[in-house]
């Protein structure tokens, strides 16, 4: 039993390596927040492209749907390796794109951001779509009959309602994204998993990895509670006499 505790829950060991692991977790947070924001934006763009009306936009819709299907269908890990190994080899690209070092971050950080944004943008596009489709068709008709263009109606009438309906599922995707940032460790980005795993290899003690897991929980558990709260609030909205929920 003592051996088990020493292997996984050695508190003294955790304290000794706390700064190192936290440094790795800080990279994880930066990667999550940046990719998360980009995926939210990219997903919204994809969802909007997918909803463009009329025959003229058919090619745009087809390409968008193909994109979403493809990147939901291939593993993120594969994409990360593909990008990190592939892009630096493209000699025709300028060096600042082949080996990006923006904002003082190493190139593998940016390859991770790119791969996660590509994949989670596709997931989030589907979430936005479910929100857009949940807005009654009469809303678009009312907006158009008042003279708004399709774009104006989307911006002012449809999307504000759609986004409000899907905040909770989007946040769920963000939690999943945060956990999936650990995959970027395979291209040697020193995020929390790689840092803790290196400590494990050197010391044969897994407590640093458990510490990393605890750090994840410190972020993901409050988010999960927030999701629950948002869901029950959204349900309460349509109950008669429930207090009105203020804007986002």
């Amino acid at each position: 039993m003592q051996e088990f505790i020493n292997q996984f829950f050695d508190v003294g060991f955790m304290v000794d390596h706390f700064d190192e692991v936290l440094e790795g977790f800080w990279v994880t947070i930066q990667l999550s927040v940046l990719s998360g924001i980009l995926a939210l934006i990219w997903g919204l763009i994809l969802a909007t492209l997918r909803q463009l009306p009329g025959k003229g936009f058919l090619p745009v819709r087809v390409v968008t749907i193909a994109y979403i299907d493809v990147f939901r269908g291939i593993p993120l890990l594969l994409l990360i390796v593909l990008i990190a190994g592939g892009i630096p080899a493209l000699e025709f690209l300028p060096e600042s794109l082949r080996l990006p070092q923006w904002l003082g971050k190493p190139d593998n950080f940016w390859f991770g951001v790119l791969a996660i944004t590509i994949t989670y943008g596709a997931y989030m596009a589907e979430v936005y779509r479910s929100g857009i489709e949940a807005v009654p068709g009469g809303q678009m008709e009312a907006a158009r009959s008042l003279g708004m263009s399709h774009g104006q109606a989307m911006r002012n009438v449809i999307l504000p309602q759609a986004v409000r309906k899907v905040i909770a599922p989007l946040l769920n995707d963000f939690i999943a994204l945060t956990k999936d940032t650990t995959l970027v460790s395979v291209i040697a980005l020193s995020e929390v998993t790689l840092v803790a795993s290196d400590i494990q290899s050197e010391t044969f003690n897994s407590s640093a990895l458990v510490l990393g897991a605890l750090m994840f929980l410190a972020v993901t558990l409050p988010l999960a509670r927030l999701v629950d709260k948002l869901i029950s609030r959204e349900q309460g909205r349509f109950t008669r006499g429930a207090p009105r929920v203020e804007a986002l």
Partner: protein, 260 residues
């Protein structure tokens, strides 16, 4: 309302309008003339094409055949046209034709006042202050001066429908279309909406009203049109169509509606 009553001019003219949904022929050649300032009530059983007719007029459902003239300009020249998102007709029509729906279709994330100001600002380019002033005036007119800041879910059906009327009027339409606007309302709320419409008619607004309210049609309409199976069966002054119909189908329908 805008004082543009000119009883001689043609506001709207439909010739041979046809509309299909797949194999279903909803409109099978409708001819209709509406003069400026005229109030036309359209009666008929459900499925007779009344609502589709209104939706053709403001190009929510562009007709496949036939022609519609609005203020003496053709808004759908022949088959296949009038359907383009960029076509000039769409702007021309939407700036002149207001529509009120059975299900209100208020924007639930906007207050009553914001519902009335949004399109004024985005479409007509009015400043926020001007749009608010106009919006508040209109809501006052429909009896909702004390509800400017309320969200639709806090309003009764009748109040929501009156906001929807104010929202359409805010765009200074030349014609107003009413698509069974009282059908989704509790009986005690119908009157407040009809009162607003009656007032609008008295002020000279050109109106096409699809309705089951025979009393309203008899009292307010200049002309009543009876539709069945996608064509106009009979039309004329209310006294003639409602109280002395010539066609069998009109008699049958009115018998059913007036029986209860």
């Amino acid at each position: 309302m805008q004082g543009q009553v000119n009883s001689s001019g043609s506001m709207l003219s439909l010739r041979g309008v046809c509309k299909r949904f797949g194999d279903l022929e909803v409109l099978r050649g409708v001819d209709l003339e509406v003069k400026k300032g005229e109030v036309v009530c359209v009666l008929g059983p459900s499925g007779s094409g009344k609502s589709t007719l209104l939706r053709c007029v403001n190009l929510l459902e562009p007709p496949e055949e036939g022609d519609i003239h609005l203020e003496e300009r053709s808004i759908c020249r022949g088959p296949g046209s009038g359907t383009g998102e960029q076509s000039w007709e769409l702007d021309f029509v939407r700036q002149r034709v207001g529509i009120v729906f059975q299900q209100f279709n208020l924007f639930p994330h906007k207050t009553a006042l914001e519902n009335v100001t949004l399109a004024q600002e985005k479409v007509l380019g009015r400043g926020a202050a001007e749009a608010r002033k106009k919006g508040a005036e209109l809501l006052e007119r429909v009896g909702l001066g004390d509800k400017l800041g309320e969200y639709p879910e806090r309003l009764s059906g009748g109040q929501q429908q009156r906001v929807a009327i104010a929202r359409a009027l805010a765009m200074d339409p030349h014609v107003m279309l009413f698509d069974e606007v009282t059908s989704a309302l509790d009986p005690e709320l119908v009157k407040e909406v009809l009162d607003v419409m009656r007032e609008l008619a008295e002020e000279g607004m050109t109106m096409i009203v699809v309705t089951h309210e025979i009393g309203f049609a008899r009292e307010v309409a200049d002309r009543v049109v009876f539709m069945d199976e996608g064509v106009i069966i009979e039309e004329g002054p209310p006294a003639q169509v409602i109280d002395g119909p010539r066609e069998e189908r009109t008699k049958k329908f009115l018998g059913l509606v007036l029986a209860h």
